[in-house]
Structure formats: structure tokens, C-alpha cells
């Protein structure tokens, strides 16, 4: 079973305790009514869907119940790093050792 490190519990815990919650670092527009339909569509639906390192939100729903962020390699399904919600996006090159 995949083990995920929860930054709040500070333990590696089974995947079954966690729920995926979409891409991370998508800020809600400060003034939504000023957006065009296209910009609103992009905010709601358009995601990066990368082949490689993906920054995503997870929730430790059957545990401490906190949302946190993770950097996951989508090809190998390896978790490179998890970090608390609100912390800045880490540098991909540092995580993988490869400049992107």
C-alpha cells in the first residue's frame, strides 16, 4: 500500500486514510465579477495535468482531517514531498535534481 507522509501527524500513513483534493496553488480570483467567461472557465476547469511533478492537495480525512499539499511524480506515483497548506510551492528542480 502507498504510504503518504502527513505533515500534521508527522507520520507515514496508509493511503486509505487520505482523500485527493485536486491541484494545489490555485488561488481564487480576488474579484470574481471582473473576470471574463474564459478566465472564469480557466479558473474552474483548466488544470496543468503534467507528466512529471504535480502539486496537489490531499486531505487526511480519516486522521487529523487537515488539508495539505503534496508534490507527486505522476509517472511513478512517487510522493516527493508533502508540506502544510499555506506554505509556498517548493522548487521542482530541487525535488528532482533536474531543471525543468
Amino acid at each position: 500500500m502507498l504510504l503518504i507522509h502527513c505533515p500534521y501527524c508527522e507520520q507515514d500513513l496508509p493511503e486509505l486514510e487520505f482523500a485527493y483534493a485536486g491541484e494545489a496553488h490555485i488561488a481564487r480570483p480576488a474579484d470574481p465579477s471582473k473576470l471574463t467567461d474564459e478566465e472564469w472557465r480557466d479558473f474552474l476547469f483548466i488544470r496543468t495535468n503534467p507528466r512529471g511533478v504535480h502539486f496537489e492537495r490531499w486531505r487526511h480525512i480519516n486522521g487529523c482531517a487537515r488539508f495539505f499539499n503534496a508534490a507527486r511524480e505522476t509517472v511513478s506515483d512517487r510522493f516527493l514531498l508533502t508540506y502544510k497548506a499555506g506554505e509556498p510551492r517548493p522548487d521542482v528542480a530541487k525535488l528532482t535534481g533536474v531543471a525543468q
Partner: protein, 169 residues
């Protein structure tokens, strides 16, 4: 596990008497000095029959005997900052699992590695998709606190696994 006779390998399951349970959400533990809230997720404090388990960074499960209800409510009433203290006594039932094979029994439904859980601590986790709170009372004794409506499901799996253990499977 060593070679054990089926009876020695057994686990007894007991449903415990009702207790007072409070789900407490609070931002800063220094604002509730009367409750001895543990800081780290999974830690549990015990004081005068009352136990407080830290479920999350700002969430605690307090269990107290019926006789301690008034003292507990007084301590909660003394918190002067915004918080949430919800009585959930009737929401859950607690099963006590005890015996040398208790870890094997719990592994029938719980994905967490409970062998690594120190005695006196606890955690919220899943048992065959039902959310449960597991606490380790002693080396071979666990408490499983289950939402009432999921209890028949969890109990059925535990009973089946107990029979399998007794049969040496």
C-alpha cells in the same frame, strides 16, 4: 506470532459502558488550562478518569466517566475564547479488544501499522471504510470507538476474524 493454541491466540471483544464524550475544537490550548490538552496529534493525556486524545492540530476527543460530567462541563464552560465543544456521547460506542492476537485481529480491517502505536496513545483511522478512533490501552489491549451506525458492520468483521483466528487461519 508464535505457535499458540487456538484459545491462547484468541481475543475477547467487550462493549464498554456509555461514557461522556466531547468533540472539542479550539485554536490555542493555552486558553483551556483546566483540560490538560495534549499538543501533538496522537498524544493522549489521562487525569482522574478523564482522557483527552489529540485527533488533529485543533481537535480533541475528551472521554470522561458519567460521574465526571459536571466537572468536565465546568472546565469547558471556563474557556472564554471562541471554540466548539459538542457532546457526542451517544454518537459512538467503544469496543475493548484484548488478547495476544489483538494486532492480527485489528489488521483484518485497519490499514494503519498499529504495532508502531505507543501504549497510551491513539488516532483516528479507518476500519474497513468506517471511521474509527483507535487507542492503545496496553500492549495487548485496544479500544475501538466506532460511530454507532457503523458498529454492526465493524463488529461483524471482528467476529468473523476472531473465528478465523481461533480456527488457526
Amino acid at each position: 506470532m508464535n505457535a499458540m493454541s487456538p484459545l491462547a491466540a484468541g481475543v475477547t471483544i467487550t462493549e464498554l459502558a456509555p461514557t461522556v464524550r466531547i468533540a472539542l475544537r479550539l485554536a490555542d490550548i493555552s486558553t483551556a488550562p483546566g483540560l490538560a490538552l495534549p499538543v501533538k496529534v496522537g498524544e493522549r493525556s489521562a487525569e482522574g478518569g478523564r482522557t483527552v486524545l489529540c485527533l488533529g492540530p485543533d481537535e480533541w476527543l475528551i472521554e470522561a466517566p458519567e460521574a465526571g460530567r459536571d466537572a468536565l462541563f465546568a472546565a469547558l464552560g471556563a474557556i472564554s475564547v471562541p471554540h466548539s465543544a459538542v457532546e457526542v456521547s451517544d454518537r459512538e460506542i467503544t469496543l475493548e479488544l484484548e488478547g495476544p492476537a489483538v494486532l492480527t485481529l485489528l489488521a483484518s480491517g485497519c490499514p494503519r501499522d498499529l504495532a508502531r502505536m505507543p501504549t497510551g496513545s491513539g488516532a483516528r483511522t479507518v476500519f474497513d471504510s468506517a471511521q474509527v478512533v483507535v487507542t492503545r490501552e496496553a500492549e495487548d489491549r485496544f479500544h475501538l470507538t466506532i460511530w454507532r451506525s457503523f458498529a454492526p458492520h465493524v463488529r461483524a468483521i471482528l467476529d468473523l476474524a476472531t473465528r478465523e483466528l481461533a480456527a488457526g487461519l
